[in-house]
Subunit: 376 residues, 2 copies
Amino acid sequence: MTPKVSRFLRDHAPATPCLVLDVDRVEENYRRLMAALPLARIYYAVKANPAAPVLERLVGLGSSFDAASWEEIEACLAAGSRPEGISFGNTVKKESAIRAAYAAGVRMFAFDSEAELRKLARSAPGARVYCRILVGNVGAEWPLSKKFGCELEMARELMILAGELGLDPFGLSFHVGSQQTRTDAYEAAIAKVAMLFTDLRDAGVKVRMVNLGGGYPVRYRSEVPEIDDFGAAIMGAMTEHFGNALPEIVIEPGRFMVGDAGVVSAEVVLVSRKAKDDPVRWVYLDIGRFGGLAETEGEAIKYAFRTPHDGEVDGPVTIAGPTCDSTDTLYEKANYRLPLSLDCGDRVELLATGAYVTTYASQAFNGFRPLAEHYV
Amino acid sequence: MTPKVSRFLRDHAPATPCLVLDVDRVEENYRRLMAALPLARIYYAVKANPAAPVLERLVGLGSSFDAASWEEIEACLAAGSRPEGISFGNTVKKESAIRAAYAAGVRMFAFDSEAELRKLARSAPGARVYCRILVGNVGAEWPLSKKFGCELEMARELMILAGELGLDPFGLSFHVGSQQTRTDAYEAAIAKVAMLFTDLRDAGVKVRMVNLGGGYPVRYRSEVPEIDDFGAAIMGAMTEHFGNALPEIVIEPGRFMVGDAGVVSAEVVLVSRKAKDDPVRWVYLDIGRFGGLAETEGEAIKYAFRTPHDGEVDGPVTIAGPTCDSTDTLYEKANYRLPLSLDCGDRVELLATGAYVTTYASQAFNGFRPLAEHYV
């Protein structure tokens, strides 16, 4: 929690649940990432947190943007981004969205299938396109491997087809999965993409960009490697495979940029046991999986908690959200412990929750309104 | 799909994704349920679909309401419900919500813990309270067992305590899990609750209501027992265990009341394969798990699809939503098949999606707006 967030919580005690996010920390993260990967161009993954204060700060820093939808493109443009600084990175797009983006001046689009490529040829003629390939996601706490990307052989054919369709076969991309905790995941993926890159060059395709995606992790309950470690591993692999002929490098950080800038402030609604002698207490918060904490599904992302009683004697807990749905349980197996003195009405903070929280919030499940947001 | 929904879709071709719901069908379902369980008082589980046209129709029919939050209570009151017809059924409530409900005239509250009971004693003095007990959820496609309810021995102590605290220890409740496909789940739960009921009577507690919860299923991809089968099983078990001294019977149907009244109309955004010879196609829709179809988590609820090409040759598919998130995959293992001629831009209908869809929708994940709603 940054001092600014801490001060805001202390001075304002805002109604819970809410996110408080320090935009200065976003800027620091942007600079740290630039320092770790000076040759890469940063396309902020807007979906991580599309709030205007975040986008505006990043526009001011010269960031580019990776948008998942026409609505996200609109948000970037509204924040002052030039359309040339926006990549339409979802490989699954309605053709109406492609047309709208193209009309607005967006000229970079992702794809991973022939049908998508033909949409792009029709509705974004001449645009730069890049093909997403399937790579391993081992080490990612929020893996992405199965849904996006295609096999190498298919990517090769599609990149050749892109040129034939009048598009600019600009590059290749991959994604090693979100909250990726292993630097070698990038190394393996770079080796794979480099093979195809060379192959395409040999086939006369003027491919010239590699998009390394995002995945750079945030510290939640456990330590993760430093961003400099990822930078070193990535540049080592790029140099090994591309030598002096480095392509343009694009990265799409989302979680890394905003995750540790934000804190969710919540209230304990109930602490109870299912039987008198049950050693495990149930702690119910006023935010749960449908209030924004969607990434606790399968207990994948394990947030760290702060309570007013930290340091006192603790005991095992199951942590759940406020709705009448059993799937709205955050942590049951991950061995969380909280102070025995924790009680109804206590405020707790969920640390490093600046990414992938606000937009996930259900519009009204069980009648609860989405969490409030404060940018400081 | 009811004729009215069908006609609306044909005549208006509303922008997708959207829910179209036939409010007359809600009324039919209410009447079917009344016929199947004539001795039960119906408290509609508002969380299933809190839209004003649904609530207003049910108010007109004399329904009572099971609310999960103060916001849902407000929605019932706005729809014309008397406060005495509302039960605050969430066992996890902020004390401020209890106060608001009590001030508005609500006098029936659920609990399953001592802490909650003490909140009720403070903020809803003299109110009718009922204790939720833990029961098995075998047979439920959307189980609820773990998070709510307490063990019998604890329930017994808490019901006695309720009287001592000046509350009215009105009844006992259980929930056999949502989309419960086995009638014997109710029979087993009724046997369990009856034991405690008798025990409490013997202890001088004037308990006089049994709340059987909801769970009554809707036909999705597979057949389910008829509501009359549930009615017969429930009344058989009630008579077996309570004889002529039947308590007041409360039921809390949600899914059953609105599920088959609604249809989600969606668009195919992309059909693709990950490799040329892959037998499985990926079908991406403009609605997914974060657009409202939250109950497809773990492929729990298996919706039936209609396409413009039904009857043509089909093949295996993985069905996914439109967001850049791999968890936004609806069905990968449930052996769905769709026509080979299905293509981008085709409209598809997801049948019986009137329950537990609209409110789950994320407010803006990936920039996508929540689905539109049409009540006809």
